[in-house]
Symmetry: D2
Subunit: 337 residues, 4 copies
């Protein structure tokens, strides 16, 4: 059986999820939707099939881009839609998804309540089964949860304090700043990222602070984790190195000492769009004092949620187990362990 999938919103996230779906042998990409007739629409019309909101059909025809039909036509043909529309827009589409009786996966720009269930593969894959809706948490939350759930598998985590240094805009979003400032985001503490982590791990003592800085390529996190009892650096490193979707980078050995060099590495190994699905942790930053762990990690905001979206499709449709999904997703995306 193959799940028939639509992707609504073929932007930064949508285009990646659509291409990832194409690589899976247990799902079929039936179509994607776009609202603007730009070059991505041309690519989309080549890739799967291109569908557009009803009121845009004419606009695309004028631009000479062939469309297969409307969003409604598309929803009729699929089992599940991955909603990758801009933050807050997914909520507007929920009634339509309900009407067409399709399962839907929302992204981190939507509130938890829109789906009622927030998803992160390593933390709660199994809980998704049977649900109609799921929300793949945001890039920052995904990064935090990869780390935290990996640690919680082996240690008793008492509390997590994290500073999130956010990229100001995605690379092609040239209208967004800041150009020369550090912007508390929000200025009222603690930030909502901790709250977001708790949509998946409700019992966790986690507090976060976030600031936006003038960079486009990656977020960075400074982590301060306390355990119930002392741990050793060796044990922590071992856990991180064996955890799925985490890349521990030996900075001194490799020369990879900042977010730009992490991206350069992804370019050099030939990742399409330099996508880094893995959470990157600087090995040298992993430091333990008693029951306290410090580390710095970097998140490629554009791509880190791609594998979780693919897993979420399987989790919602009950196709396979978590281990099986992890294996399929990671091997098709070229994620190394």
């Amino acid at each position: 059986m193959s799940v028939k999938v639509a992707v609504n919103g073929f932007g930064t996230i949508g285009k990646r999820v659509a291409e990832a779906v194409l690589k899976q042998d247990d799902m079929t990409l039936v179509g994607v939707t776009k609202t603007k007739p730009d070059y991505l629409a041309m690519i989309a019309s080549r890739m799967g099939s291109l569908y557009v909101p009803e009121d845009r059909v004419e606009k695309f025809q004028k631009a000479g881009i062939e469309v297969q039909g409307t969003l409604k036509d598309l929803l009729e043909k699929v089992d599940l839609v991955v909603d990758a529309t801009p933050g807050g827009v997914g909520k507007e589409y929920k009634p339509l998804y309900e009407k067409f009786g399709v399962k839907a996966i929302f992204q981190g720009g939507e509130k938890h309540e829109v789906a009622g269930f927030s998803f992160s593969t390593l933390c709660n894959y199994e809980e998704a089964e049977g649900k109609q809706f799921a929300r793949v948490v945001s890039c920052n939350t995904t990064g935090l949860l990869r780390l935290i759930c990996a640690l919680r598998n082996h240690f008793k985590v008492k509390s997590v304090r994290a500073t999130i240094i956010r990229r100001g805009a995605d690379p092609a979003e040239t209208k967004k700043g800041p150009i020369n400032a550090i912007v508390p985001n929000p200025v009222t503490l603690p930030s909502h990222h901790g709250v977001d982590v708790r949509t998946v791990l409700p019992d966790l003592d986690v507090q976060t602070v976030a600031a936006v800085v003038p960079t486009t390529i990656m977020h960075s996190h400074v982590l301060n984790v306390r355990f119930e009892e002392p741990v050793t650096r060796e044990d922590v490193l071992k856990v991180l190195e064996e955890a799925p979707r985490i890349l521990v980078i030996p900075s001194e050995l490799s020369g990879v000492k900042d977010t730009a060099k992490i991206i350069e590495l992804a370019r050099d190994v030939g990742r399409k769009r330099y996508d880094l699905y893995e959470l990157a942790i600087y090995e040298e930053s992993v430091s333990v004092e008693g029951d306290e762990l410090f580390l710095m990690q970097a998140v490629h905001q554009e791509s880190i949620v791609t594998p979780e979206n693919v897993d979420a499709i399987r989790a919602l449709t009950g196709l396979v187990s978590k281990e099986e999904s992890l294996k399929k997703t990671d091997s098709t995306l070229g994620i190394v362990r």
Copy 2:
């Protein structure tokens, strides 16, 4: 009695300290030294008197800039030298200062050992008395110590965890990056800033992590302080508002919600060079949960150490008490409470 002061190194820090000394009624600026005959040298030659290293005399003459003499000529005339040469250069000058029997104040770019005594007005003014050398700690450490010592005056501080988001370069340093990256600095944790705090407060449990980002105007700190017992937000805010050299900014009321707007405020109120001697704390960021405090603060790296340098001159020469020095420095520099 008036202390006769020289400033060796008339750059970012030196020019500010020299101008601040000019405003004090208990010190005299005898001269400053420069190594390059640029426009600052012309300004310097107008301000106080301009002295240069011996091997540069000719260079300045060629550039048509009048000099009063050499560094050695200058050292003969003064009681104390503020060394504001680039990091690591001050150490080279120490033997000369010893030879001339002058007191010397080094900056944060020098190791603690160079002076053997690290200074921060609110924490250890009194300990300076009788010493020949002092080192005013770096801009980031000064910012951290202003906060910590203010808190310690009223609460029992158990531990401090801080993330330092550093500006990449001073505004006019156009050769330094990064342009588009977040750079762990250092990548090995914890960072040296915590160590630096302990040169002044040896018993403090403090750990820091630092990353450099592409901005020039201010550093930002994310603070997580734990106390021995629960505190209230109101108490903390009251302490901060009453502490010297701390500016608590009501962000919602004023619209001042990021480092760029803090600087705009300094420009609008007419601060020369938009210098902000005060540690700026976003009022809304001050958040307390039980015994734990979170807040975000911003440090104007170019100017925050200016008042501490002026105080250090008084502290080393035993002119007046800490309270008296604070009062004199702050009123002459226009620091508001």
Copy 3:
């Protein structure tokens, strides 16, 4: 006689013009208007008097900021209003200004047609007399016109080709980008800046191209001017050095070799907000080959139009001659020759 002046819109341009008006002995600042009750409003309420649009009165009262009255109250008291509202908003106010029979000066964000007359002191001061409306051209156009009219006073200018490298946002505009891109603006050539120059010099053969880059402090222009006959570098330099409101910077001598160092110079000499009213030209860049001139100049976008606004007040109200206005404006603003 003293012209009674209002400033509508107390933002980047408005606050500077208001402060400049305060310094003139032949004009009186009756009041300024603000729409948001932020810290600038508090400063405004201290400076002149603060007026607000009718529908905002309550909002300011709630924020505890005293207002003197509404915009209409203000317009009744003045002879002339300087409109410094955001681009395109001034047009909406024109009927109101007409209704109240006040003269009005618009800014470069408005179309030429709004005022019907575009103003630049050195080019067409005299033409303003008797008019009700004038528009002070934009920062980039002001910079271009300062240069061109200075040259036209002494040489026959055949054509002007200019590349405008624009700052992406003003320093405190932290929401605007780009963060990491060069953005043709517009992508269709030639750009509107040449058209704007011709609102003042209709007969000029001028073509411009503009691109936006990730910097906040200054615009830069690359000029290629052709004359009817050969000129010498010496003659051009002499003209530029003697022209009003142009600062020819000897880069090698002073070390001032980029926009950041120009701003550092303005900070060091104590300009409020580091405002540089002068057009800055790098002396070394001035290069002549036969009938062709190349040079690079830098424009401090926030402040360059301040003197032209002050002059425009005098020009519209027929107070004094151009030479007299130039002298008054420049000496009160501290513009050096």
Copy 4:
């Protein structure tokens, strides 16, 4: 016959040229050299074979990276070396290349005199034959020459005036600035780029001005070309669209309106490292008035010289004709027409 090629210096340029050589059926990559044992060295040791300067052998062994031999060992095995060491270093290696009797291709960071012959495929491929040394001109010069030689094939070019808006650093060069400035480079006009163009087209009337800005991804050029006689926009566009290695981008249609979106396009179509070998010209920017052409183009500095390096290997060794080389290079690199 297959030319045996070495690449000395496996950095930004070297790694690209080495990979491009691997794709050619008439050349063999014998080995590359690296000086630092970082992750690129590991990749290199997998790709071709890794050679290192004699004094580094031990260092690489310590880092656990296997090396095949020394640079001298490598030079003994090859016919030709592509020198991609940092600017100015290639010159130091020239005597060694002479000693080993190998042909050598230098990069734009070397002076013209080092090779005595500067190369750009479309302009002077045939002149390379029989020479021992060639220098592939810099990325900016390559971009300018692609345009100029394409135009010269069809029109009589009278003069070229160009403003070069340079990226401050390559993406992974995180130590280089500027962060917030526009830096004339050089401040003395005209810039050396025009001189560099004339190493290939000695008779051309070309003048350039360059400024560095805070971006990492692409350079941009503003071109003002004059012809001996009037041309039409249609004719120019046709020539550009048919010229090799030029990509004319319809900005309005595609939404690709700045350098960031050009790079996004390269990412989306799956170019490794988002390399854009083509010179990108914004279609809408192409504007003609009489005998004068304006346009804006963008240069991907990291990759634009890759095809020219491959061609230069063939040109120096007399393998095939220019047309044949263009065809082979472009089809293997996936350059579209």
